[in-house]
Structure formats: C-alpha cells, structure tokens
Amino acid sequence: MYPPKLEAIISLFESLPEVERRETLVSYADNAKKQEPRPGEKFTLEDIRKDEECADTVGVYLQVDDEGKAHFRMTLGPEVQTLTRAMTAILCKGLDGRTPQEVLELPGDFVTRIVGAELVRVRSQTIYYVLTRIKGICKVYLDRQRMAEVA
C-alpha cells in the first residue's frame, strides 16, 4: 500500500514506545537540514513560498529522473515546528524514487501511525502540511506533462 521505504519507517515508529518515538522524531527533525538542495543540483520544478498554514517559508524542489522517478529536496524557515521538520526528513526519504503519480495517490493516514495520536492535536496539524506541499508539486508536474502531451 505504501512505498517500501515509507512502510519501513512506519513500521519502525509503530514498534517504538512513546519516549523512543519522540526521540526518533527529534532525530529525524535534526536531519531535516540534510534534505536541502546541494550545490549544483538541478530540479524539474521548484516551489518556495510562505503559506498561511505554516509558520515560515517552506521550499519544495522536485527532480524527476530519466526513469520518471521523483526525488525531493526541501528548505524550511527557522520558525517551522519540530514535528514538521521531522515529517520533512521522513517524507523526503520515504517517498524517494516513487513516481509523481504514486506520490499524488498516497493516502495521508500514515501520518498518525508515525507521529502517534498523542502528538496529533490542536497546534500540531502542520505535520500534514509537508505532505500537502509535496503532493502539490507532483500535481503541477503531472498537469504540465498532460498539457505538453495535448499540445
């Protein structure tokens, strides 16, 4: 149902007691900076903006390789919450190598399985924001592909 890399991450989190789940989320959040674009990397699409739904600017960078597989990079402003940072690292890793169409069709119900019901609550809903943005850039990519085919 989920991409294998993401399924592995979900399984890991589901196996953890609450304290270790939090520690692992913080560890992923610490790694969010590693998801930033590296010097010389080229992208198929870039979407950098500040939305009302998130506390700071978030940049999503999509590269679709010759085999049609998607690779993501992301930049996060300093005000972005820890859980959102964690989800950034998780999704960049878990969705790497899937097609944009597969990413677009991904159901969002895995988020609570990773984060745990305890942490999904008022003032933490932006955990879904990163997934929405990643799906958003995939949709733009697919729309442009279809338009190009029609033209």
Binding site: E53, L83, A86, V122
Partner: protein
C-alpha cells in the same frame, strides 16, 4: 497606582537570563519550559528545566477543562515542586504558553511564579547554554489544593456575556483580522474549527503582541500603561476579561495586566473564540 507608572507594579514577576544562570540550581527554584511546539523541549532546553505540556499536563484529557486539584498536586510532586518552590516559566512564541502555564498554576493557588523575560527565543539568541539532558528531582509531596481559583482569574462564557451586556471591559487580544471576522484562524495557522468570525460585542481589539518588543521581552511599564490605560480605557479596580482563541495569547495579556500593570480583577476567558464562535445564539459583532 498612577495611570502612567514608570516601573512594573510587580517587577519580581519577571526575571532575565542572568537571574536564571545565577539561580537555576537553587533548591527552591524550578525552571519550567512550556511550548506550542510540542517537541521543542526535546531538541534542547535550559539546563535543569522541566517540561510542562499545556495539553497533556495541564488539561483534562476528556472534558475541555483543566486538571483536577489532585492531578495538579501529582504534576508538581513528580517535578519536585512544593508550594514554596519559585516556578520560573519560559517558552516559545514570546512566552504564550509559559504565561498560560503560569496562569494555570495560579488557578491552583501556586503563588510563587515568574516569567523569563524574552522566553526561549531570547535565551537562544543570546547563545546561552542549552541541553537535551532531562533533569530528575526528588519527588515532593505537594498538598492537593483545596480549590481551583476559577472565580478569581478565569471567566466562563456566561460571565463573558454578562461582561459584554454590562459594558464592562473586554479585551480581544487576537489579530485585527480575527477581530473583524475577516478570518476565523490566526494568520499562519490552520483553521481550528471555528464556525463564525467576529468578536464579542463591546470588546476592544488590542493584539497581544502590542505588549512586546521585537525580542519577545515586555515593553516598559510606561508604554504598557499607554496601551492599556489610555488606548483601551482600563482602570484599576474594574473587572476586565481578556480572550483570544484558546486562551494562550490572552494568558500573555492577563500576565501583563495582572503583574506588570498591577490590575487586580483580570480574568482570562480561556474558552475564548473556539467556544464563542461555535456557540449557538452567542451574539457577535463584526467591524
């Protein structure tokens, strides 16, 4: 009290980072971090600080209300807090949740409370020491408070309505867009389930942020007096009710009015707009 004080009425309620560094190991002092970002404490905090979560530690997990007095006693006991402990609160978002936690401690009658001026942001910006080590303190036996001081510092919806009908001071500390009913959520935040926009009739708009400087510290007493006495028309001795969306931003203003300006009859309507904006038949003004 004068209407243009040059000093805070309760300056002892504010401490700075130097004070923390000098007193953080005192047995009768407990540093408490309280944040909106629920994992922020885990990423690093002031050495020796304990974490109090505004929802899981302070709120009842079923009913929308605060914990019962015995749960508060347990919370304090497991964090090594006694009634004689001075609790110094700090956190993210310019101390929204620190003020909320302080207000909740006052609900249970804990008197010895302070705020770290500038909160977590200023501490971090100054390059002060932070750690991920979670401290352990010897358990105390905090007595179960005899009552919760709801009547004194908390307002419920019917009391906010009575305040409105009586033309008594109501301060809406949300953003101007929320006050006018143009938006039903804070800018930069998702919708939190409010069906109607606007404000309680008669309320004056004074966003919480008006009371702070850019570094999240509180403005001087003279400037606060101009804001709340001159612009809002508040007067010593008059009942005042403050509100926002869920009671955290209004806790910040409650702290300013109660401790920094010394007003004695300020209550926080913590049900705030997430209650009022959903309440069937509740009167609403838009302007």
């Amino acid at each position: 009290m004068t209407t243009s004080p040059t000093e805070y009425v309760h300056p002892e309620a504010l401490v700075d980072a130097d004070w923390i560094e000098k007193h953080q190991n005192d047995n009768d002092v407990r540093i408490i971090e309280s944040n909106e970002d629920i994992l922020l404490y885990d990423t690093g905090h002031i050495p020796g600080a304990v974490h109090i979560d505004w929802r899981t530690d302070l709120q009842d997990q079923v009913i929308r209300d605060y914990i019962a007095p015995d749960k508060f006693a347990e919370l304090c006991s497991r964090n090594g807090i006694s009634p004689q402990t001075t609790c110094v609160f700090y956190g993210d978002k310019a101390n929204w949740w620190a003020c909320y936690a302080l207000w909740a401690f006052r609900l249970f009658g804990h008197e010895r409370v302070k705020i770290l001026n500038g909160g977590r942001d200023k501490w971090k910006a100054e390059g002060r020491t932070m750690t991920r080590e979670v401290p352990k303190y010897p358990r105390t036996d905090y007595p179960v408070p005899a009552k919760r001081f709801d009547k004194e510092i908390r307002a419920f919806a019917d009391e906010a309505l009575a305040q409105s009908k009586a033309g008594k001071p109501l301060i809406d500390v949300r953003s101007p867009g929320e006050f006018k009913g143009e938006i039903t959520h804070m800018a930069e935040y998702p919708q939190e389930g409010v069906l109607r926009g606007g404000h309680i009739p008669g309320a004056k708009s004074m966003p919480w942020k008006t009371a702070t400087n850019d570094d999240s510290t509180f403005k001087p007493a003279s400037e606060l007096a101009k804001i709340y006495f001159d612009q809002c028309g508040l007067k010593p001795g008059t009942d005042t009710v403050v509100y926002c969306r869920i009671g955290e931003r209004s806790s910040h203003t409650w702290f300013v009015l109660t401790y920094l300006l010394g007003l004695e009859n300020v209550r926080n309507y913590d049900g705030s707009w997430t209650e009022w904006g959903n309440k069937v038949g509740a009167p609403i003004e838009r302007s």
